[in-house]
């Protein structure tokens, strides 16, 4: 993506975080993201994110599995090599149900996990900027993107009033790149603005 400037603030309590998210949105600041150590229910709605369509994708993968299994087995038994197995019918639907069901589940699960990883850019070797090491531990990290129209000091003051602490400014890559977490972010990433 691109390297951008951010103002980062930490919250200790989700009860303080929710009103703060609301205030950021009414004030019109560009809320980059809120990083939380666990799923905070309702935060996605508070931030105005739209519902995910992952379920729909899962359904589509599922019916793909169903049709694959049914059509493949019927093709094998009727077209490719019709074999008389103890005089049983060539389209024994009840006997096809177990494999059809298993393939439905398999396609849906594998497809959904892969879609999830694709949408969230998750893969071994993928690296992203971590705004605060405790965002996966106990802090709720609010990140506001600075644009030409926003004044960094003003945003900091605003976050302070909203109940955040350890407010700082960071310059970082907003997207992902291939990298290792045991190495420092590459020069361009996460360079402190005032350093």
């Amino acid at each position: 993506m691109a390297v951008k400037n951010f103002v980062v603030g930490l919250f200790d309590d989700e009860a303080v975080l929710f009103p703060a998210v609301k205030k950021v949105r009414t004030a019109g600041y560009k809320l980059h993201d809120v990083y939380t150590p666990f799923p905070v229910h309702g935060l996605d709605h508070a931030m105005g994110l739209r519902e995910t369509s992952l379920h729909t994708a899962g359904f589509i993968y599922g019916i793909t599995g169903t049709t694959t299994a049914l059509s493949f087995m019927s093709w094998v038994f009727n077209v490719d090599w019709p074999l008389n197995i103890g005089g049983k019918p060539h389209f024994p639907l009840p006997a096809f149900i177990p494999i059809t069901f298993e393939l439905t589940v398999l396609f849906a699960a594998v497809g959904m996990v892969m879609t999830f990883c694709y949408l969230c850019q998750l893969m071994p070797g993928v690296k992203k900027h971590i705004f605060h090491p405790r965002q996966t531990d106990d802090k709720f990290v609010m990140v506001i993107e600075l644009t030409e129209k926003t004044n960094a000091e003003e945003v900091k003051r605003f976050l302070n009033e909203a109940g955040a602490h350890d407010i700082n400014e960071q310059r970082a890559e907003a997207g992902w790149w291939y990298g290792r977490f045991d190495q420092a972010d590459e020069d361009i990433h996460a360079r402190p603005v005032n350093a």
Binding site: T36, F38, L122, F181
Partner: protein, 480 residues
């Protein structure tokens, strides 16, 4: 005060004074320290068992299936018994992670990670048996429907044994995906607090670059919910299909329609017993008594007594139908060669361990007693092993032709193979307990403020309030 509020009548799911950081510390710090002596001892024992198992399998492959004591009459012995037993054990993990998620049972968060790991390792062990039992394992790929140069001659999609191939491999794949998708955020937690470079690198790779973004959590929640919804019928289907291996045959004692529910209940029964065995040791060694509480054990013991009673009902139904069905062969199987006869002892071990002893769990004192639970969990697993042995061997050893009647006891490679799967299972479990968060850290945090002991204190004053008063108080507090 939290916006969510749970009645104080409900037992806390996390004991002690905890905040989010303390939860991370408690669960992650054993991973960062050196393992204790007990860990090394246990790990080495598991490794040597695994080695012995590998040798037994080598012996069997080198000399052929003849080294097993199977014969023309008893074609399935310890191999298939162990297969069904291990698959069954796996079922509790999926029940905890999927079915209890759909039922919104908060207590699952304390035990689901370890139970799912158990599922995966158990299915890995189970899968060994049908493959090795083929005899010529190098022909194992014949079970896959792939376009081959022999026609192509396809597999028989009517065969329950082929359904098994699909069921077990799907079950393993989906369980693994479900487990790993839950692990990603916790690996990120370990990565971000790692002090050493190597740990940061490895957990960085394992965490797939997870950051904890709200949008990602939203998708993660959706993914977990749908995977749970898929796993629920899947877990029921897997043991149903395993039971079809028997039920679709015409052997008296196997040919019954009761098998699918009976097998599923038995699977959950033995699986929960194995979860208890593992977690009682894990919580003690890793000092996780505040997360895996007596309340958790009591809940699982309730499941054990329920499923144990379902299994007991199934045994009695089988006996009743064997008499009421007026089929002389079925009657003979159950009353002459199962409950009596040369292998009758195995039937009574099964009855004692599965039906009689679990009844102690009707008493709350017993359900909350760690020692009783531990001993019972082992008894149940012995009982459930014998159930599969009884179903398989006592139906086979007296067939339609008295001249082919036989007896069966395993040879050392069969026993060694079984011990080897214990080695595999515990080797994996020891590595898991050392390097993976054994409790789902993020999930515990999400229930902490409603179900943690210190957050429940002071909630009594709200018990008498109406919903309006409570809402008003919350609103008032947030106005400041």
């Amino acid at each position: 005060m939290s916006l969510k509020y749970e009645s104080t009548l409900r037992e806390p799911l996390v004991d002690g004074v905890k905040d989010y950081h303390q939860v991370t510390e408690d669960i992650i710090s054993p991973i960062e320290g050196k393992p204790g002596k007990l860990w090394y001892v246990g790990f080495l024992i598991s490794l040597s068992l695994l080695g012995f198992g590998a040798f037994s399998v080598f012996w069997q492959i080198y000399f052929g299936v003849g080294v097993w004591n199977l014969n023309k009459t008893i074609g399935w012995g310890w191999d298939i018994t162990n297969f069904v037993w291990w698959v069954g054990i796996g079922h509790a993990g999926t029940l905890i992670s999927a079915i209890l998620l759909l039922f919104r049972q908060g207590w699952r968060t304390g035990v689901n990670r370890a139970a799912e790991a158990m599922t995966i390792f158990a299915v890995m062990c189970a899968g060994q048996f049908p493959i090795i039992h083929m005899g010529r394992v190098w022909m194992g790929f014949f079970i896959l429907p792939y376009p081959n140069t022999r026609g192509p001659v396809w597999v028989n999609f009517n065969s329950p044994l082929l359904w098994d191939v699909f069921a077990i491999s799907t079950y393993f794949t989906v369980s693994l995906l479900f487990w790993y998708s839950g692990l990603i955020p916790d690996f990120a937690t370990i990565r971000d607090r790692a002090k050493t470079k190597l740990r940061k690198l490895l957990y960085g790779v394992a965490s797939f670059g997870w950051t904890g973004s709200t949008k990602h959590w939203q998708r993660h929640e959706a993914l977990s919910l749908v995977l749970a919804g898929l796993s629920t019928p899947l877990v029921l289907s897997v043991h149903t299909i395993v039971s079809f291996d028997f039920a679709t045959s015409v052997i008296p004692g196997w040919h019954t329609t009761i098998f699918p529910p009976y097998f599923v209940a038995g699977a959950i029964f033995s699986g929960f017993a194995m979860v208890q065995t593992l977690l009682i040791i894990t919580r003690k060694i890793l000092h996780l008594e505040e997360y895996i509480t007596l309340g958790h054990m009591e809940a699982m013991n309730k499941v054990i007594v329920l499923t144990g009673s379902v299994v007991g009902c199934a045994y009695l139904t089988e006996l009743f139908m064997a008499w009421y069905g007026a089929n002389p062969y079925e009657f003979a199987t159950f009353f002459k060669y199962r409950a009596a006869g040369p292998l009758g002892w195995s039937y009574w071990i099964m009855m004692t361990c599965n039906v009689i002893t679990p009844q102690v769990f009707w008493f709350r004192k017993m359900r909350r007693n760690v020692m009783v639970t531990f001993v019972m969990s082992i008894i149940v697993n012995i009982g459930m092993w014998f159930e599969r042995f009884v179903i398989i061997c006592t139906s086979l050893y007296r067939d339609y032709l008295p001249s082919s009647w036989s007896y069966y006891r395993p040879s050392w490679p069969e026993v060694g193979f079984y011990m080897g799967t214990f080695g595999l299972f515990f080797t994996c479990y020891f590595l898991f307990a050392k390097y993976f968060p054994v409790i789902a850290v993020a999930e515990i945090k999400s229930i902490l403020k409603t179900s943690g002991e210190n957050f429940k204190e002071g909630m009594e004053k709200y018990e008498g309030e109406t919903a309006e008063q409570f809402a008003h108080a919350v609103h008032h507090e947030h106005a400041h």
